[in-house]
Amino acid sequence: MTSLKAYVLTRLLLSIPMIFILLTIVFVILRLLPGDPVLAIVGMKASEEQIEKLRKQLGLDKPLWMQYIDYVLSILRLDFGRSMIWGRRPVITEIMEHFPATLELSISAFIVSVLIGVATGLFSSLKPSSKLDISLRIFSIVAYSLFIPMFGMILQLIFGVYLRILPVAGRKSPLVDIDTVTGLYVLDSILTLNFEGLITSIRYLILPSITLGIVLSGVYTRLVRSSMLDVLSTDFIRALKARGIPKNQLLFKHALKNAFIPVLTMMGLQFSILLAGAVLTETTFSWPGMGTFLMERIEYRDYTTVQGTIVFFALLVSLVSLAVDIVYALIDPRIRY
């Protein structure tokens, strides 16, 4: 077996305990913490009978270990139970209706953050300790400290209210219909050749992605800067310089490519920060994704849906970190077990 195959297999096996641990942590939080879910759902005034009925319905009358086994088994079957309100629809169906919105926002915010991060990091590394470098360094610290709702509201005020050029809430204009193929409106509009749909979905996407993207870009600024500085001091760059390779080609073709590897390793961790940021961005911009969905269901005390959504986030994070590690190994041959 090649070492790459061995690596991928080991990494795959390692993610199984991680997923189990996350599932267990979610179970512990939702079942063992003080605060009875049944009482939380029906309220203090409910009769004993009502409480008993709901307890049975949720399987909360069984011993804990049996609840745990039921819980793990149903998740392995991707059965997240049924919502407790409004027609009792399967939780996984509802999650799948909201997930594309979060995915679309995350992807475009990610693109914004990498673009800004790489550009600022690159400029920073050209002249270390120059005025530009120091200003960009301060930018990266400030960007990280921007509280997403406040920053988003300021952008809403400027671009939505004063300049009136961009919408401030929602995913698309109510006047335009977009046929759902993937649930990513921009992609769907392109696939169905819906020009109006494309315009409206991009317009609604701009402010939330810029908000989230700028906040996350600071991390990439410093990462690209320090790895560029490392790469620029290596022998192979000096050798290329000696050979008289033009500076632009040296920077963009040779140095940047190598400086990108640490950026890639950060992506797995950044993804979880991206998701957390997406929750705040969605609530600020009334973006109908997983974050607004989760908050809405917490408010309605829809216990099964809240549990399902958190479990979904846990699975998502594990899978993405697995994917990032594998891609990383494919790109950098030094990474092997």
Binding site: P17, I21, I25, M153, S272, A314, V317, S321
Partner: protein
């Protein structure tokens, strides 16, 4: 000797020094504001003092909110809430995370591997979403918010202290202490911990900056400190409905305070990191 060292450091790393001082200045002003809150706040932050949504004026420096409460007084009292919640939760994470990391790294074995796996998994999970889940189950309240935030940051300290313990453990002076028959307790707290603890200040201030944003996020989402208590994240949310209609002051001032405080702690962490580990770029 020490002063000379400081002067030398200042000349060599002027920017880092300035950034740290600015950050520390912001943080200490807000701590001072929190301590002196009852004396400097002009009005009672809990009750309506005038008409709702009055713009900033000499009488109400930051205007009044939708219930006619003085925004400035709420900001000042809010600093107390934020500081208590953020510092209490990060200190709890620091103590629990560091102790676990120290013991786990020192003794190693199955427990260490299991604990590391749990902490790594927890670390990989989005902090705010984790805090949301805990806070939603615990219900609103000051103590509950502190618990939710502190759970999120335990892995940060665990991972850092454990890693550091692993590298210090193999050093010669620890080996010497072991050979001389020192007890585990002595080795851990007299030899290993002092060498591990040097990295704590940097991690702590970076972590507090993050915790400020998490606390504000939780309250913004309505899962933090309960309603009438002045809190920046909650007050920001409270003003959101009126923000775009032109009543910007109800949200803007709490929002700016959140950003300032997070920025202050980030600057301190950033500056300290460069000053204490100058070899790293």
């Amino acid at each position: 000797m020490f002063a000379e060292h400081i002067v030398k450091l200042f000349k060599k790393r002027k920017t880092d020094f300035i950034l740290t001082v600015i950050g520390a200045g912001i943080v200490f002003s807000i701590i001072l504001m929190a301590i002196l809150a009852p004396f400097i706040a002009p009005y009672n932050p809990y009750v309506s003092v005038d008409d709702a949504l009055l713009p900033p004026s000499s009488k109400y420096l930051m205007g009044t909110d939708n219930l006619g409460r003085d925004v400035y007084s709420r900001i000042i009292h809010g600093s107390y809430t934020v500081m208590i919640v953020v510092l209490a939760s990060t200190l709890i994470s620091l103590v629990i995370g560091s102790l676990l990391g120290l013991v786990s790294g020192y003794f190693g074995g199955v427990v260490d591997r299991a604990l590391s796996l749990v902490m790594d998994s927890l670390y990989s999970f989005p902090g705010l979403i984790f805090a949301i889940a805990v806070a939603a189950m615990l219900g609103p309240g000051v103590i509950n918010t502190i618990v939710s935030i502190s759970i999120v940051y335990i892995p940060t300290y665990f991972r850092m202290v454990r890693g550091q313990t692993l590298s210090v453990k193999t050093s010669l002076y620890v080996e010497a202490a072991t050979a001389m028959g020192a007890s585990h307790k002595t080795i851990l707290f007299k030899y290993i911990f002092p060498n591990v603890s040097v990295i704590i200040p940097v991690v702590f201030s970076m972590n507090v900056a993050d915790a400020v944003l998490t606390e504000a996020g939780l309250s913004f989402l309505g899962l933090g400190v309960p309603a009438p208590i002045p809190d920046w994240g909650f007050d920001l949310k409270n003003g959101q409905r009126n923000f775009l209609a032109g009543y910007w002051w109800v949200s803007a001032f709490p929002g700016i305070m959140i950003i300032l405080l997070a920025l202050g702690f980030s600057l301190v962490g950033e500056g300290l990191n460069e000053l204490l580990n100058p070899e790293r770029r």
